[in-house]
């Protein structure tokens, strides 16, 4: 039995049992229950319809754009802040308490306040997404710089490196793995908070908006399509970044 389970065709078949059972149960329940309980077939046709009329593509692109814009704003700021705080103690003392205090609040919890300041719309969503990307980048970059081995810095001292050289040739390369970990985490956070803010503000287009609309219209089929797309995209983006991270860190000896 154990040897059988090690073979991938067996694993594949066994792994399909639970999802298939779920689908059968669902189909059976759907035919017994109300109209809102869309059967799998309806979900497939909803997918086809959303693909044909371009809604799905538009919402997906809007969400991707929002998430990556937020990442592009939040992550570099976070990396810069984290590195600055790791290198210069005064910066850490000055900014650290403020940033750590802000970090305690659930990111989505900022939405009402920022919505009050900037109105419910694109700007508010971007600020919250950027903030979600900022903190993991900052924390990991800070940790990355803070744990650079002393002897590397001593070598830099012997070579009489200037501050800039020290950052460029010692601190940045040594901190790179954690910086990239931070950015990968930032991406995941940005993705989730994009969906969350879209759900809550419901402005413009986006996967979260589509979910919200589907909920109001009681369209389970559309809802499930959107959830599926969200999950698949989140998975793909994460895989992509993992690959990217690996190729960027080729020069590193195998990590523990």
């Amino acid at each position: 039995m154990k040897d059988q389970l090690a073979r991938w065709p067996v694993r594949l078949v066994i792994g399909l049992v639970a999802p298939l059972l779920l689908i059968f149960l669902w189909q059976w329940q759907a035919s017994a229950h109300s109209v809102t309980f869309a059967p799998p077939v309806a979900v497939a046709s909803a997918l086809a319809e959303l693909l044909r009329n371009g809604d799905l593509l538009r919402d997906t692109l809007a969400t991707l754009q929002r998430a990556f814009t937020g990442l592009a704003i939040g992550a570099p700021l976070g990396v810069a802040a984290g590195i600055a705080m790791g290198i210069w103690k005064p910066v850490d003392r000055l900014l650290g308490p403020l940033l750590h205090a802000l970090r305690q609040v659930p990111m989505i919890g900022w939405l009402p306040l920022i919505g009050l300041w900037f109105g419910v719309g694109e700007g508010t969503e971007l600020i919250v997404v950027s903030m979600s990307a900022f903190f993991p980048s900052m924390l990991n970059s800070h940790a990355g710089v803070a744990q650079v081995e002393r002897r590397y810095l001593e070598v830099g001292g012997i070579y009489r490196f200037t501050t800039l050289q020290r950052i460029r040739f010692i601190l940045l390369p040594a901190a790179m793995p954690l910086v990239l970990t931070g950015i990968t985490q930032a991406l995941a956070f940005a993705w989730i908070s994009t969906i969350g803010t879209e759900l809550l503000t419901g402005a413009g287009s986006g996967l979260g908006v589509a979910m919200q609309t589907a909920q109001v219209q009681q369209r389970l089929d559309i809802m499930l399509v959107v959830i599926g797309v969200t999950a698949a995209l989140g998975f793909l983006i994460n895989q992509l970044f993992r690959r990217l991270r690996q190729s960027l860190l080729r020069w590193q000896p195998a990590q523990s």
Partner: protein, 253 residues
């Protein structure tokens, strides 16, 4: 580290106090109109007023109750599920693909789906918290048990330990650190998701308090909500960390 003494205590308090002072001064300077930012004294006043009327306690109590019940259900189920997945190759083969697929979905994306099925009443919020707590807990338990060195099981075999003894003497102590870390992550995740769910649909709770404040342009109430939710999140994390360090102090570093 956990209990800073003397000077360290002063240093730890200096920053937040300075922060509050800065906030107060920035407001008094007239740089920000009161519709945009109110000073901490006004926020404190709003908190005091809400506490006097019992409103604050009701919101915090409702939120914490949902967190506690949902977390107990979700983390408990997650632990059992993770253990089953780790201990049985068959269970793993059957359920792990489904589990890993569902895990890709941000919990917040389940929110509208659950509103559809459960409405926006109490069961919905508890279910959201339970789902948020379930996944990290299941994964941590799975990793914890899988991380037990194989030869420990061999030792158990040599000593002819029964299954119960195996669980009590070897599995539990070996997996406690991972499980506690999982509990902490589950707890903080659950809190974040609960606040989001309350923002979206609720009749009470910290999230709803903030959302109502926003709709009524009561910036002091919104800020009070931000402060309270941050404080609760901080205390949950700290509390869980404290339990973690207490429970694992027998381990050598």
């Amino acid at each position: 580290m956990a209990f800073p003494q003397g000077k360290a205590v002063a240093a730890a308090w200096a920053a937040p106090v300075a922060l509050l002072a800065l906030w107060q001064v920035a407001c008094l300077s007239g740089l920000f109109p009161p519709q945009v930012l109110v000073p901490p004294s006004v926020v404190a006043q709003a908190l005091a007023d809400m506490a006097a009327s019992g409103e604050l306690q009701r919101h915090v109590g409702d939120s914490l109750y949902r967190l506690l019940v949902g977390f107990a259900i979700g983390a408990g189920a997650g632990m059992v599920f993770g253990a089953a997945l780790a201990l049985s190759r068959l269970v793993e083969a059957v359920l792990s693909p489904l589990f890993l697929t569902l895990w890709q979905v941000p919990v917040i994306a389940f929110v509208p789906l659950m509103v559809m099925f459960l409405g926006i009443d109490e069961p919905f919020k508890i279910a959201v918290v339970a789902i948020a707590a379930f996944f990290p807990m299941a994964l941590a338990t799975f990793d914890g048990i899988r991380g037990v060195p194989r030869n420990w099981f061999d030792v158990a075999k040599v000593y002819r330990l029964s299954l119960l003894q195996l669980i009590r003497r070897i599995l539990l102590p070996a997996t406690v650190p991972a499980v506690l870390t999982g509990l902490r992550i589950s707890l903080t995740r659950a809190w974040v998701v609960l606040v989001a769910a309350e923002l979206l649909a609720a009749d009470s709770g910290i999230g709803q308090m903030m959302e109502m404040g926003r709709q009524l342009f009561q910036i002091d109430v919104v800020l009070a909500g931000v402060v309270v939710s941050g404080l609760i999140g901080f205390l949950l994390d700290r509390g869980a960390r404290w339990v973690e360090s207490r429970a694992t102090r027998w381990r050598t570093a």
